[in-house]
Amino acid sequence: MEKSAIFGNKALPYALLVPQLVITLVFFYWPASQAVWQSFLREDAFGLNSEFVGLENYQALFAQPEYYKSMLTTLVFSSLVAALSLSIALLFATQADKNIKAAPVFKVMMIWPYAVAPAVAGVLWLFMFHPTLGTLARPMRVMGMNWNPLLNGNHAMALIVMAAVWKQIAYNFLFFLAGLQSIPRSVLEAGAIDGAGPLRRFWTITFPLLSPTTFFLLVVNVVYVFFDTFGIIDAVTGGGPAGSTTTMVYKVYADGRLGGDLGGSAAQSVVLMVIVIALTAIQFRYVERKVQY
């Protein structure tokens, strides 16, 4: 797409671009290239000298059992959050799509958690499930469950999954609802005339027609789990207990800050960049298909 009516000025467009380009070059390209460069360096213990070590940081990284563990943690975390938040949101969206009077009220009530900061969401859930003072932890104990997310890795994972799902339902709900509302009523009516009940119509008509939305949301949810859940993890578990909630992004932070291993941290950043670029590429291919569709 190109405009045919344009201005002929020569210098003005550059002046208009200067603010964004300067900020992008200084705060994006400079640090991003530093990350790539640093991943080939090793600093001495005092951070005074650094030498070029080639791929050693990457070799060290992929020799670490912890790194594979963080990959697995990320995989478990993102599949749980994506599966749960997508299916719960779809359930609510199908109900809100029905012709009921209070639908707009329900809609507002469902979408506001989008605005809650991940770290704040984490603190809310930690408070409810805190082993000693949590409102919901007490009944769990009474029922004989030895609940302790501060010591038990699986409990910690369950807690951050709940907080992350709670926050993400809003977003998925909004997009599912929009997707549902764009399905032509005539198709559903045709199904009804052919004798399909509501459930049958959902699985054979609505769900397949919703698949572009579902796929788009799947990618968005994975990106969300990768990056936006940092606040939840840091506020609730700090990556613990014993690294059981350390995702790949959290490990970049923890290794660089606590371990002081900047080369290793930079190598991890580069691996993450590759993953994100792959995810974005998938997303764009999908967007192009949607345009043809």
Partner: protein, 282 residues
């Protein structure tokens, strides 16, 4: 609707009510906790109805801070968060509407290059390049400044793409008409383009305000002084105290205060919010 059955509506109301309860419950618990005194909250048997310490807790949280002298009162953190969120939202609108104007309405060498330089930033969120960005800010002596909090987060392409997309939908006849009236690039921008873009700007503002307000990792890293803390990072610090028991009732009051502004934005500007969310994702 295809058919209207009574039980169908009842199911909808039941499921949605359950959903709303699920969504509201964590905040309700926090709200209740913020109205009790420390002892009631800590003993693990907090009542599910409000207590009588709301005023005291919120007063202490906003104006005094936790019991340790080094902690900032939340009032100050709210101001920092507000400045950061406004800076990010307005800064992004400013730089991206200008660059989109340049890319859409002018032809010049390296136009495509400039667009791609901006476009690629979409792919890498700040979390991925966190330490190198920290180092750049440190080298520029911008630690503990508002500039350091704001600038790295506006280096992204979402706004530019949004405005570009919107400008493409504006009919060419408008530009031709104002050119016949003798308008140059400045007049056209000010008198035609800006008024037309108000809704798009507002939608972008809503999304970016929430984004800026909710930042966590970045302010955590680059603010070392308590006086520069934002409220979202401040809550965590209230809970990680080694010397004394964490004051959960104050932390919960802070959590409520931290979510109030962005949640209010979503509720009261719902249409702009939805529009911004849908359009920035395209």
């Amino acid at each position: 609707m295809v058919e209207h059955r009574r039980w169908n509506d009842i199911v909808a109301y039941l499921v949605l009510t359950l959903g709303v309860l699920l969504v509201v419950f964590p905040v309700y618990v926090a709200l209740i906790a913020s109205t009790h005194d420390a002892a009631t909250v800590v003993n693990g048997n907090m009542p599910m109805l409000p207590g009588g310490h709301a005023l005291e807790n919120y007063y202490r949280a906003i104006f005094v801070g936790g019991s340790r002298a080094s902690r900032e009162p939340v009032g100050h953190m709210l101001i920092n968060s507000f400045i950061m969120a406004m800076g990010i939202a307005l800064g992004k609108i400013f730089i991206s509407i200008l660059s989109a104007y340049a890319v859409v309405y002018f032809r010049f060498p390296f136009r495509k290059t400039a667009f791609w330089i901006i476009f690629i930033t979409l792919m890498l969120p700040v979390e991925v390049r966190i330490y190198p960005t920290y180092k750049v800010i440190a080298d520029l002596k911008m630690l503990d400044t508002y500039g350091g909090l704001i600038l790295p987060l506006i280096a992204s392409a979402t706004g530019t793409l949004l405005f570009r997309q919107f400008f493409m939908t504006i009919p060419d006849e408008l530009l031709e008409a104002s050119r016949i009236d003798g308008a140059g690039p400045y007049r056209f921008f000010k008198d035609t383009l800006l008024p037309l873009s108000v809704t798009t700007m507002a939608a972008l503002f809503v999304i970016q305000f929430i984004y800026g307000w909710n930042q966590y990792l970045w302010p955590l890293l680059i603010t070392t002084q308590d006086s520069m803390q934002t409220i979202v990072t401040g809550i965590k610090k209230m809970l990680t105290t080694t010397d004394e028991l964490a004051e959960w009732q104050l932390a919960m009051a802070t959590a409520i205060l931290a979510m109030l502004p962005p949640v209010a934005v979503v509720i009261f500007m719902q249409r702009l919010f939805v529009r911004g969310l849908v359009e920035t994702e395209k």
